[in-house]
Assembly symmetry: D2
Homo-oligomer: 493 residues x 4
C-alpha cells in the first residue's frame, strides 16, 4: 500500500494494481537473486512459475538458466514442452526440461508412470536440446524409493549413452513461428495460436523454431504469423527486412492487418472486406491445398476475414452457411449447412512470397484437431517451402522429428520420437495421456537436404551404419528398418 501511494497508483484501479504487482515482482526478482548470491556470485538461480512466458524478456536477467516445468500428465500435456523448448532454445540461456516420476503430478507419493513414458519424455528433452530433470518427492524418512529410482535409472541410462550426440547441439529449422504469446502475453489467446501452429509443424515433421519479435528472423525460409498478430511499425519494418533478404511469410486470420484491423500492411494479392458476418463458415480449397480425403466444403470454426483475390492466386473459396445459429435461425444439433453456391470470397491467397489464410487456422486446429485441418494447413506450408525443406519423411503424425547440428563434431543428429499415448484418466480436470507399451515403427524413409556432404550415417548410440543413398547432390535418402521410442541417426560430414 505504501508503494502504491508513493508512486501515485490508485488501489481501486485494476490497471494501477497491475502496475504495482509488476513492480513488486521485479523487486522480488532483484532482491531474491541478490540474496541467493551473497556468498557465491555464481550461484545458479531459477525462478519457477510453471511456464516461461514467451516474449517476457525483461525478467530473464535474474535467471542463470531456465527450467521448463512440464509434467505431461499433470496438466501440461505432451504439447507444452516442445513449444516451450523450441522458443527457449533460441534464448542465450542454458535450459533443462522438467518432468516428474509421478503418474499424475507433484505430491503423488506412491504414484509411478510407466518406465516407457519417462524414457520417451527424456528422449524428447534431449532431442530438443534440453538437459533432463525428473521430479520426485522425498519421503519424510529420507528414504529413496527403489521403484522410482529404477524407473528414473532406466531413462537416465539411455540419456547417458546418448549424451555425446547432444552436447552443444544446435537445432536446425526451416520455419519459425512468431509467437503470438510473445506478442500478446500469456493471458491472451496467443497460446492457442502458438500451440496450434506447433502441432501442425510437429505432426507434419517440418523443422521449426518459435521466436519472439526481438529475435533474429534471418535464415528462416518461412515465418508464420499465426492468427492474431496485427502489426505495429517496428514489426512491420523488421518483416520487410526479413523479406528483402529472401524470407517468405504465412499469415492467417488477423495477422498482417494494421493494429486497428482496417487494412493489410502487405500486398497480399487480395481486396480486404472486413470480418465475415458468418461464423462458422465453410471452405473448399483448390485441389493442391485440399485435405487428401475431403474434396467438398468443410467447416471452419471461428470467424474468418473476407478477402477477394486480386493480383494473387486463390487458395480456394469460402462457402457461407445459410445463416448463423441464433435465436432466429436454427438447424439441427450444431451449425447451419453450407449454401449450394460458393461465395465470392477466397479462403486464402498467395502472391509472391506471402501466403494469407483467411481463418485463424492454427487456433482452430488447436481446439478441434481434425486431420483435415492439418492437411490443409500443411499443404499450404509445403507450397511455401517447395524445394526448400531440409527433411521429408513418411513418419506418421504421432511421430516427432528433429534435426540438430554439432558443428564441432562435424555432424548432424537426426532424432525420431514415437510413442502412442492414450487418454486413460483425469487428474482433476486435466486429461492423463498414458504412454504404456511402445510398438516399434518400421520402414522409415527420411530424405535430407543438407548444405554439406554427408560421409557416413549410423544409428546411435547403437553404432549400426545406415546406407547412404543420394538421389541428387544434396538429397540423401535414408531407410531405417525399425526404430523404437527415441532413435538418433548420426550424419557425419
Amino acid at each position: 500500500m505504501a508503494l502504491m501511494e508513493k508512486n501515485g497508483w490508485d488501489a481501486q484501479k485494476p490497471e494501477d494494481r497491475a502496475k504495482c504487482a509488476d513492480h513488486v515482482l521485479m523487486q522480488y526478482f532483484e532482491r531474491t537473486t541478490a540474496a541467493a548470491r551473497v556468498h557465491d556470485p555464481s550461484m545458479p538461480v531459477f525462478h519457477n512459475s510453471g511456464h516461461i512466458t514467451r516474449g517476457n524478456r525483461s525478467i530473464l536477467q535474474y535467471f542463470s538458466h531456465l527450467e521448463l516445468e512440464s509434467l505431461p500428465t499433470g496438466g501440461w500435456g505432451y504439447d507444452h514442452f516442445p513449444v516451450s523448448a523450441k522458443y527457449v532454445a533460441k534464448l542465450p540461456h542454458d535450459f533443462l526440461g522438467m518432468t516428474g516420476k509421478f503418474h499424475t503430478a507433484w505430491g503423488e507419493f506412491g504414484g509411478f508412470k510407466h518406465p516407457n513414458a519417462l524414457r520417451y519424455e527424456c528422449g524428447a528433452m534431449i532431442a530438443m536440446n534440453a538437459k533432463c530433470s525428473v521430479g520426485d518427492q522425498l519421503h519424510p524418512e529420507g528414504m529413496l524409493d527403489d521403484s522410482t529410482y529404477d524407473i528414473i535409472g532406466t531413462a537416465f541410462k539411455d540419456v547417458a549413452e546418448k549424451e555425446p550426440w547432444c552436447e552443444n547441439a544446435e537445432p536446425v529449422a526451416d520455419v519459425a513461428i512468431l509467437s503470438s504469446e510473445a506478442v500478446h502475453g500469456s493471458k491472451g489467446n496467443g497460446t492457442d495460436a502458438d500451440t496450434g501452429a506447433a502441432r501442425v509443424l510437429l505432426q507434419s515433421h517440418v523443422l521449426f523454431d518459435v521466436v519472439d519479435p526481438e529475435m533474429a528472423f534471418d535464415g528462416y525460409k518461412l515465418l508464420i504469423l499465426p492468427d492474431n498478430i496485427t502489426l505495429n511499425a517496428t514489426l512491420k519494418e523488421k518483416l520487410d527486412a526479413y523479406m528483402a533478404q529472401g524470407g517468405a511469410l504465412l499469415l492467417s486470420g488477423k495477422s498482417g492487418l494494421s493494429q486497428q484491423g482496417q487494412q493489410f500492411l502487405f500486398d497480399i494479392g487480395a481486396e480486404y472486406k472486413g470480418e465475415s458476418e458468418f461464423s462458422p463458415d465453410y471452405i473448399l480449397p483448390e485441389k493442391a491445398f485440399a485435405p487428401e480425403f475431403v474434396h467438398t466444403p468443410f467447416i471452419m470454426y471461428g470467424s474468418g476475414q473476407r478477402i477477394r483475390a486480386s493480383g494473387g492466386t486463390s487458395v480456394g473459396k469460402v462457402i457461407d452457411p445459410y445463416f448463423n445459429r441464433t435465436y432466429r435461425h436454427f438447424c439441427s444439433h450444431q451449425h447451419a449447412p453450407n449454401r449450394p453456391e460458393a461465395s465470392s470470397f477466397d479462403c486464402g491467397v498467395v502472391k509472391d512470397s506471402i501466403m494469407y489464410l483467411a481463418h485463424p487456422v492454427f487456433t482452430i486446429y488447436k481446439k478441434y484437431g481434425a486431420v483435415a485441418y492439418r492437411q490443409y494447413i500443411r499443404n499450404c506450408i509445403d507450397h511455401m517451402l517447395t524445394g526448400a525443406k531440409t527433411i521429408e519423411t513418411n513418419c506418421p503424425s504421432q511421430a516427432r522429428v528433429m534435426l540438430n547440428h554439432q558443428p564441432h563434431m562435424r555432424r548432424y543428429v537426426l532424432h525420431i520420437l514415437y510413442a502412442p499415448r492414450e487418454l486413460r484418466g483425469y487428474f482433476f480436470d486435466n486429461p492423463i495421456e498414458v504412454i504404456d507399451e511402445i510398438p516399434p515403427l518400421y520402414d522409415i524413409d527420411v530424405s535430407l537436404s543438407l548444405p554439406v556432404s554427408i560421409q557416413h550415417a549410423a544409428l546411435q548410440p547403437q553404432g549400426a551404419p545406415v546406407p547412404l543413398n543420394f538421389t541428387n547432390e544434396h538429397t540423401l535418402q535414408l531407410h531405417l528398418d525399425v526404430i523404437q521410442c527415441h532413435q538418433m541417426v548420426e550424419l557425419r560430414y
Copy 2:
C-alpha cells in the same frame, strides 16, 4: 397431473414423480410401438436414448432390435461401445453399432473424421458382433456429400468383404463382468466400475462378456463383481449355484458384502474390519501380483475395506499414510506419504475359488488409468484363470482382441484391432481422440486353447494361410508377421 392424482401420487414427492415418469415412459413405449406397427406388424422399432442401460430389461419388449449410439468423438469415447456391445450381445436382440461420419458429432455439416477412424470403428463393430450404422446428416438440398460417402464407402467396402466371417458369429468369453450398472442403474456409479473392469480386460486381452443378474452365469471361468455389488438373497443364491458348478469369483471393494455392508456373504478367507479410516492408502502386493515396474508401496485412491487374511492367502499388505489430508494435517501438493511400516491389513486375499481385493480397483483404474493398477489387477485375474485362458498374446495394451465362433461354419474367427488414438481437441467439454495414420503391428504371437482341433488357419479376407504350431494337444501357437487396423484370423476345425 391427472395420472398422478388417479394413482394417488403426490407431485411434491420426488419419488412419486419418478414413479409417474416411469409409468409415462412405459406408456410411451407401448403406444408409439403400437402406432408404428399399425400397418405392418413386423415394422422394426428402436427407441433411442443414447445408451442401452444395462439391466433395464422391462422396456426391451418394445424394441425389435437395438442400436448402440456411440460416436467416439462426440462424447462417448472409444470405451463406450465395447462395454455396451459385450452386454447387448448377450440379449436376444439383434443389434448394430452406430457411429458417425463427423469429426465431432451430430449436426456437424462439413465435418469429417479420417477414413482410418471409420475403418477402425466399423472393424470394432463387426469384431464385437454388431452390424454397422454410420450417421450422416443430409444437406437440405438433398445432396449426398461426396467426401462423406467416399469415406463411408472405404469402410463399408472392408466390411462387405469381411461379412462371411461375421454372420451368426458368437462371442467366446472366459470371464464375465456382472454389470454394476445393471445392479445400480445408470444414475449410480456403476458405469465407472463396469468401464474400469472392461478396460482392464480389453487392455489385457482377456475374453469377456458383460452380464446382468438375470443372465446365465454358467460356463464362465471367472465372474467379476466390480467394486460395489453388495448381495441380496437372490443374487447370493445364484452365485452359490454358479460356484457349485465350478465357477470362480473376483470381488473388489464392497462387492460380496451384505446389503447393510456388515459382513461378507462368502468365506473370503479373512476377517472383516469395516472400511479403512484412511483414503487414499497404499498397497504392497506380493511379488506374484505386483506391477512389473513397481515393487514398493503404491497409492490406492478411494476408500478400501479393512481385511486381515485368516484362512486365505494374502495378496499383499496395506500400508497406511501418515494421515488423511484435512484441515489438520497437510503435506505438499496431494496426499500424505506412506508410513514406513505396513499395517496389519491385507490388500486382498484368495481362498479356493474366491479372490477378494480390498479396494474399488476397477473404479480407480477408470478414473486414473495408471498402468501399475492394470498390471496389478491383471495379475490377480490371471491367478484366478491359471491354465484356463483361451487366448494369450503379446499384443500391446492399445490393441483389442476378440474371438468369435461360427459353429455352422465349423470355425473360430480371431479379431485383432489396433489404432493409436491421440487427444487432439475438444467438443465442448468432451475430449476428441483422433485416429489418423495407423502404423502396422508386427510380430504378433497368439496362443489359443480351444476345445476343438484346428485344421487350418488363415488371415481373412486376404486368405493367406498362417502356419499351425501346436505346443500341446489343445494349445495352438500362431505367429502373425504384421497386421494393420483390423485383422481377422480364421481358425477352421
Copy 3:
C-alpha cells in the same frame, strides 16, 4: 418477432426490444380500448398498472378517467397516494383513489383493516379531490362479507355526508414540485426526489401541486426542481417565462445544471466547482435556516455540489469530513467525523428569486427522514415564501392540511387529516403501518391569507360555526378546539 423484423429492430439489442415493447403497449391500449367501446362509445376505460407514471402523457388518450391504486398496507405506504393525487389532479381526467379493505393487500380473504384506517384513507381521498374506491374480493359463493361492508359502510357514510363540500372542488397550491419522475421516468431515481419533496411539504403544511414539464407553471409562488432536474433548452425557456411573471425557484443537487452538468443555466449567485469529492459531508446552515435543535454541523448523505457564494447570499457552510470511508481510511461504524474548520464552500445560496441547495436534500429526506433535514428544507422554503403562504398552522407534522376551492359555491374548504400510524408488521418485505385508535388533536390554530373576504366559517358536516378573527385585511386566524381523523372547515365568502 415479426413486428421487430418489420420495423428493423434487432432482438439482441435491449434498446430495440424496449422500442418494440413500447410499440406493443401502445397497440394494446389502442385495441383494447376500442374493443371495450364496440357497443358503447362512452364506456369508461382505465388500464391499471398500479401507478400513474408522472409525465407519461401519451397513453392518457386511452383512459376515460384515472384510478389511483394505492393500498397503504400493501406496499404503497401512506405517502404514495398524496404525491400521485396531487399530480393527477392537474390532469384533465376525473380520478378516484383506490384502497382496499384488507389488512395487507389483494387476495386477503378474511383480512380486515381497522375501520379508523379506512375512514382516514377515504378522508384523505376526498381532501385531495379524488373519488373513493375500496377494493374487496368476492367470496366464490357470492356472499358479501358483513364485517367488510360494515367497515366500508362506516367510511362511506362519512364520505356521503361530506360530498357537498367536495364536488367540483379545486386544490389551492402555493408551491409546485416539478416532478423528477416526469422528467426521468419511473425507472430512474425520480420517485425518491418527488416523494422526499412531497413529504417535506406535507409535513410542513405547505399547499402544493405536483406538475410535469407540459403543465402550466404560472401562478405558483415557488417551483421546486428537486435534486436531479438538469435543464434542456425547452425547459429553460419555460422556466424563464415563469420567472419573468414573478415566480421563484428552489433548486437542489443537480437541478438547474446544464444536461452535461458543467454549469448552472441560471445565475444562482455562486461559482460552481463541480461535485464534491466527499460523500457524505456536513453542513452548518446560517441560523435562519438551521434546524431548531441543531446548531452544529450535521451530516448530509449523498454527494453535494461544490459552490462558493458570489453575488448571492450563503445559506451556510459545508464542512468536509476528514476523509471518505474507503479501504484506506476507516473510522468507527460509519462515516468519518467533520473537520474542525469549515470548508470554503457553501451548502446553499440565494439570489433574488432563486435559491439553490447544494445537496440532493429531498432524496436524502426520503431515505433517512431525520427531522433536522425537514426543518432545514422547510426553513429554506419559508424564506422563499415569506409573506406569501396561504396557510400557516400549528398542526404537528403527522397531520396533513389541504385547501380546496369551490368557486360555484363561493367557498373554500380546509381539510385537516390526522391519524398516528405505527409500524406493526410486514407483508412480505413491505412494512405495514397500522392505523388503530385515532386520538383527537386539540387547539389547532390556522392562519389563512385568501384573496377573498371570508364571511363565515364552520366545521362541516357538523355545521358548528368557527369564530372569525382577522389579524389584518386578508389574514384570518381560526382556532379549532378539537378535531379527529378528518375535519373540514368551510370558509364562505
Copy 4:
C-alpha cells in the same frame, strides 16, 4: 485447535465446534472479568453483545450489572427495550437502558434524533426501572458537540427531576410471559413469540413481567406460554405447583404439548387431533372473544392445532379454507377463501384455569400486526383476568402504561408513555421510526385495584394533585385531563 484436540472435539462436526465456541466464550468471560478487576475487585464489568439473551443465566456471574443496548432507530425498534427490560428487571442485577443520540446508530457523527425522541426513550427507561445511558461518539479532537449535549441535557433534566419516584421501585405485574427465547435460545423463533405477546400486553395496558423457567411463577394471576413451549417434566412440575397455588395459564399453538408433540400434558378440555392440514385457516370466535369490528371469519396465518372441545368451553370455531395454495390449487393473489361451513374444530377452549388457543397467535401478531388479532387475544386474556386486573384504562394502544411500587416510600408510581412514531426512513434494511412532535393525550381514565388504601394522588414531578374517586373499597378511578410524552402519577398509601 489445541483446545478441541484436548477435549476430543472434532472440528469437522458443527456441534463440536459449537461446544468449543461455548467453552472459549466462558473462558473469555472468566479471564477478561478477572483482568478488569486486578487492581480493583469492585470494578464494574459488563460484556456487551447487543442483547441480553433471556434464559442464558450461566454467563451472568461475570456481569456486575446489565446494559440493555437498544437504539430504537438503529435496528432494534421501539419494542426491543420493553421486552428486554421486563425480563432483566427480574434478575438480581442492576441495569440500565442504552440508546443513542444518533438519528440512525453508532458512528453517525453529525446525526441527531429529535429531542422529543430522547425524552420519550429516557422516560420509557425509567418507567421500566432502568437507569439511563445515551450513546454518543466523541469527535477525535475531543470536542463535545453542543447540539448533542443540549438534546441529552433536555432529556436528562427530565430524568433528574423524576428520579425520586424511580429509586428502588419495583414493577407490579398481573401477568408473566414465560419467555420462549429463554426456552429455545435466541437462534430459534422464540423472539417472535415473546415480542408478539409483549406487544399485545403493552398495547392492551396489561401489567406484565417476562420470566424464564428458573424464575418464580408465584404471585402472577396469569402465566402465558406463547406459541411453542412444549413441556419437559421439570417445567410441568413447576407449572403444576403454580396452578395449585391459584395461578392460571394461557397456552397457544404448541405450548402445553409434550415434547414429542403427541398430547397435551394438561387437561385443556378438548380432544387433540394433531396439526391442521390447512395453513392458513380461518376462525370465528364466540362473540365474547371476537374483535369489535369483525364478526365474520378472519384469517389465521401459520399452522393451527386441531382440537375439539370436550369438557371445556369453546372459544370459537375454525373454518377451513377450500384448499391450501399449492401448484394444484390456486386462487387470486393470496390464500383460498374460507368454506361456507365451519369445521368441527375449535379455535380455542377454556376449562377452569387453563385457556388454550389453537394458533400461534403471538407470533402471528408479531408478524402481521392486525388490530383484529390483538383484540381477539386481549379478549381472551381479559377473560382469564376477570376481576383481577390491577389497571384498566382508556389509553390508546400506542400508549404504554406501567406501575411501580416504592415500598420504602409507601407509594405506587403510575407511568404513562405516549409518542406517535412514524416510519420515515431506513438505516440499511432497518426501518427508522421517527418521534417528532408529541401531541398531548387528553381525558385519560385509569381505574386501579391495589392491595392498599391510597390516600393521595398527584402528577409528578409537577406535584399537581389528582382527585381520588373510589368506585369501591379497592377500586380507585382517576381522571387525568392531559398528559404529554411521559407522565408519572404518584399514589401514596
